[in-house]
């Protein structure tokens, strides 16, 4: 069995940032295990720009953003194993992994950071009626085929779901010569960024149909068309609104799910809204010394936030490993209310000496509302927001001086109000 201070599961933006931060904080023996053949995670196939505006102050493509971290990693003696799949993380922090070079590896870790990212919601879970034709794929799979493998996965395309990946792929396919017929969105609003709707759809005259879904696929071998229909306010298809659209490809961009198989296997408690682990302000799970960050913890809209969150986890792991974590801990839960769907972290240590930032998403679009933070029944902040949307992660700060006044029965609530 090998011994490491820190094992980071996943070499995407989250894993790399967490490992680098832990090193910066003084952790010595660190190893990053990555299942793909290169570091960088999903950024490698996100060749569009728009990454890094917050963190680097410049607009980068996904590979460029990843390359900055890959270069930083190379300048350290942090070990990296690619093509390495972690099979399990045990209670006592033994990480079991496989690859073709070392075979089966077992590593005893002092701390573990889970940074496995997320995956796309597949078609099956959507239960669209129709055939099993080829040409139905997630937008991310299509993105890999076009951007990495260099093949066209379709010529006439319908996209279901107006999340950012779907919008980005509408433009990518158009630029490479495909005809994108329509983007359908089940909800009455798009989950994607306005900028992407304008520059990926409007620029190319691609219609976005809101409150519309694909109800049936046609074609016995390759996809030949889809039937789309309007939905009512209970999201049920409206009879009579059906429309047939000829296409050879249906791309699904209907949401991302954190990849928490290892987390579940380890018996770590999950939040059933985020589908990620329940964590404290250092992104430590209910298993001491096991941390989680990035899209495996909560699906982010900006990689810049993934980096920031992962640095918190890296620092948390460092404190744990270096024994700087021994001060008294008293945890209270953070409570999402009225319009706020969830909060990460789900619990905070009121003995923390630093400000704590709470990240969250709202459940619908709100115009001209206030974001209110209430601590022990007192409103500590109430910020006016012109627009709140589910697609954009929000945050509020709980100042350290307020934390210092709390006890184990205290409450922290965040809500949307008039």
């Amino acid at each position: 069995m090998l011994n490491y201070d820190l094992v980071v599961v996943g070499g995407g933006p989250a894993g790399m940032a967490a490992a680098l931060k832990a090193r910066e904080c003084g952790v010595e023996k660190i190893i990053v295990l990555e299942r793909a053949e290169t570091l960088g995670g999903i950024l490698e196939q996100c060749i569009h720009t728009g990454f890094g505006l917050h963190y680097f102050g410049e607009e980068l493509s996904g590979p460029e953003y990843a390359a900055k971290f890959i270069d930083m990693l190379k300048d350290t003696d942090i070990e990296v194993k690619v093509n390495t799949m972690v099979l399990s993380v045990s209670d006592d922090k033994v990480v079991t992994a496989v690859n073709t070079v070392d075979g089966l590896i077992q590593i005893k870790a002092t701390a573990v950071i889970l940074a496995m990212g997320c995956r796309e919601r597949p078609r099956g879970a959507l239960q669209i009626a129709g055939t099993r034709a080829s040409g139905i794929m997630t937008a991310g799979t299509a993105q890999k085929y076009v951007n990495i493998d260099g093949y066209m996965p379709g010529k006439k395309v319908v996209i279901l779901g107006s999340g950012d990946i779907g919008l980005i792929m509408a433009r990518r396919m158009t630029l490479e010569g495909a005809e994108v017929k329509v983007v359908c969105e089940l909800m009455p609003f798009s989950g994607g960024l306005t900028r992407n709707i304008v520059q990926c759809l409007d620029d190319f005259g691609i219609p976005l149909k809101l409150s519309t879904t694909v109800i049936e696929t046609h074609g016995k071998e390759r996809l030949e068309g889809v039937t789309i229909a309007k939905v009512d306010d209970r999201l049920q298809p409206i009879p009579g609104s059906e429309e047939y659209i000829e296409c050879d490809t249906l791309m699904l961009s209907v949401g991302l799910i954190p990849e928490n198989e290892l987390t579940k296997q380890a018996g770590i408690a999950l939040d059933n809204i985020t589908n990620g682990a329940v964590v404290n302000e250092m992104r430590e799970t209910d298993h001491e010394g096991i941390f989680a960050c990035g899209n495996v913890l909560q699906v982010h809209d900006l990689v810049d936030y993934v980096t920031l969150e992962s640095q918190i986890a890296g620092e948390g792991a460092a404190r744990y490993i270096l024994g700087k974590d021994t001060e008294e801990k008293v945890y209270i839960n953070t409570t999402p209310e009225n319009g706020v769907r969830y909060i990460v972290p789900q619990k905070v240590n009121i003995k923390s000496k630093e400000d704590i930032k709470l990240y969250f998403r709202v459940g619908a679009i709100y115009m001209n509302k206030k974001l209110t933070v209430e601590v022990d029944g007192k409103v500590i902040s109430s910020k006016k927001k012109v627009k709140l949307a589910p697609g954009e992660m929000e945050n509020v700060v709980i100042p350290a001086d307020i934390l210092a006044t709390l006890n184990e029965n205290s409450t922290i609530k965040v809500r949307v109000e008039e």
């Binding site: 490698e44 060749i47 569009h48 720009t49 607009e59 980068l60 493509s61 590979p63 460029e64 390359a67 076009v146 951007n147 990495i148 493998d149 260099g150 630029l175 490479e176 960024l193 306005t194 900028r195 709707i197 304008v198 520059q199 409007d202 620029d203 012109v386 627009k387 949307a389 954009e392």
Partner: protein, 120 residues
């Protein structure tokens, strides 16, 4: 003439209407802030975009390597620029920032590599 557009200057996404007479912007309405006004005026006079694609790479680890415009190009030139990008084949190794096409379509903008490919 009136043109409607969605502002992308911030996530708010204001619906802006621009009134144009004799190629001159005479009114911008619907915006919340000054950035919206400026965005709208640029969009009707000289809209620009950055684009990204891939070029074929000989001897690369992957068959294609990603690239982007080094700065914004006129929106109307997007498909002409794509045609030029599609003509290019480069040899591995490729480094981020390598210039694949200089001054593409006379836009003053280069097509540059956005990933490294050390080759097979």
């Amino acid at each position: 003439m009136k043109r409607d557009m969605t502002c992308v200057a911030c996530p708010l996404g204001c619906q802006i209407t621009v009134e144009i007479e004799n190629d001159e912007v005479v009114a911008v309405t619907g915006n919340t802030c000054k950035r919206g006004d400026a965005y709208a005026r640029t969009e009707v006079t000289n809209p620009v975009r950055s684009i990204h694609s891939t070029v074929k790479v000989n001897g690369g680890y992957y068959p294609v390597v990603p690239c982007k415009t080094s700065g914004p190009i006129p929106k109307g030139a997007i498909f002409d620029v794509m045609k030029e990008i599609n003509k290019v084949t480069v040899d591995a190794p490729v480094k981020i920032g390598d210039v694949f096409i200089e001054n593409v379509c006379g836009t003053g903008v280069d097509i540059v590599a956005t990933n490294n490919d050390e080759g097979k």
